[in-house]
Symmetry: C2
Subunit: 200 residues, 2 copies
């Protein structure tokens, strides 16, 4: 059994959402599991001088056209959120807290967050919304609400973001297969060939 | 007959090179010609605050891995140039000067420049090298050398870069099909579907 594929993403990243809908099934076809790693792109951009593409005068309008088109190309539902981008501390922290308790539930939660934001137009930047989404999956709202205030829960997401940078991650989505890096949902065809051939 | 596809690129852009080897044949399959527009990304980046990806601490190393892999994926020859990036004023100016005289020759010249740089490792940042490459295609070296000093030849490339920005171009390669924008060599599959279906 080969090592799991690593999938790094920020919950506010639309291309991360596109990847999230494809990577598990693709990896599974080649006998690979996927480890999901939500990160805060803000931490990465502070270090690298990177900027959210949406804030660029020419890339921003392109993104608004390319993302929905890429979603249609991949046959995925997509509705550009009214509030974009949003802070994803609550979503990311909740993910790791759940991950330590029930990895499968954490995976369901991650999908639910992405779909709530990019399909149903819910503002996942609001902690209450994140907690509601978790609660709908059977998580105790009170327990999660308390957990989100814990320093170790905050540090976990911070550390995940720094660890990601150590591995070269500069944007979302970023996939590592063994040590081979793939940036962007548009690398899905190369990821497929890499998994199929063991490298090309 | 549908309108030509517009292909914007900088001669120092490796992803531009990848696109240059594919776009004509792809467009031709759907009855479309392609207008090639070399530009200076430096002019664009000055306006947009963009940066060459190679100069970023994390994107740079990724690029050095992703470009050769993307070339293999597309079954194209690629050798990363020793000097990278380079100034492409001479190459771009020569292109437009040739374009006004013999469009087909200008297309051959553009391919020759890209291959000289990304396959044969020649330093196309040197005007002498650009002139040699043109001379090998039958262009008068003296005539081209004189042309490169003309203000109107310099302005032509400058104007092409500004016109490109007016159309939204922020990087290389950038393809416009009617008014639909596609950024990056990785958009080839979407370009194909767009040409096939007239939009999706």
């Amino acid at each position: 059994m080969s090592a799991p594929v690593d999938f790094y993403f920020d919950f506010t990243s639309p291309y991360g959402y596109l990847m999230s809908e494809k990577i598990d099934a693709l990896a599974a076809r080649f006998g690979r599991a996927v480890n999901w790693h939500p990160i805060l792109l803000g931490i990465v951009f502070k270090e690298t001088g990177g900027q959210p593409p949406i804030s660029s005068s020419l890339k921003g309008p392109y993104l608004l056209r390319d993302v929905p088109r890429s979603a249609r190309f991949l046959q995925l539902a997509y509705q550009h959120p009214a509030t974009f981008p949003v802070a994803t501390q609550a979503a990311g922290r909740s993910f790791y807290w759940l991950q330590d308790r029930d990895p499968q539930l954490a995976r369901h939660f991650a999908h639910a967050i992405y779909r709530a934001y990019f399909v149903d137009g819910r503002d996942i930047g609001q902690p209450e919304v994140v907690i509601e989404i978790a609660a709908a999956l059977g998580v105790s709202a009170d327990e999660l609400n308390s957990a989100l205030a814990l320093p170790e829960v905050k540090e976990r997401l911070q550390k995940a973001s720094l660890d990601a940078m150590q591995r070269g991650v500069f944007g979302s989505p970023y996939v590592l297969i063994d040590d081979e890096p793939f940036f962007g949902a548009d690398r899905l065809p190369q990821i497929e060939r890499w998994l199929q051939t063991g490298g090309f």
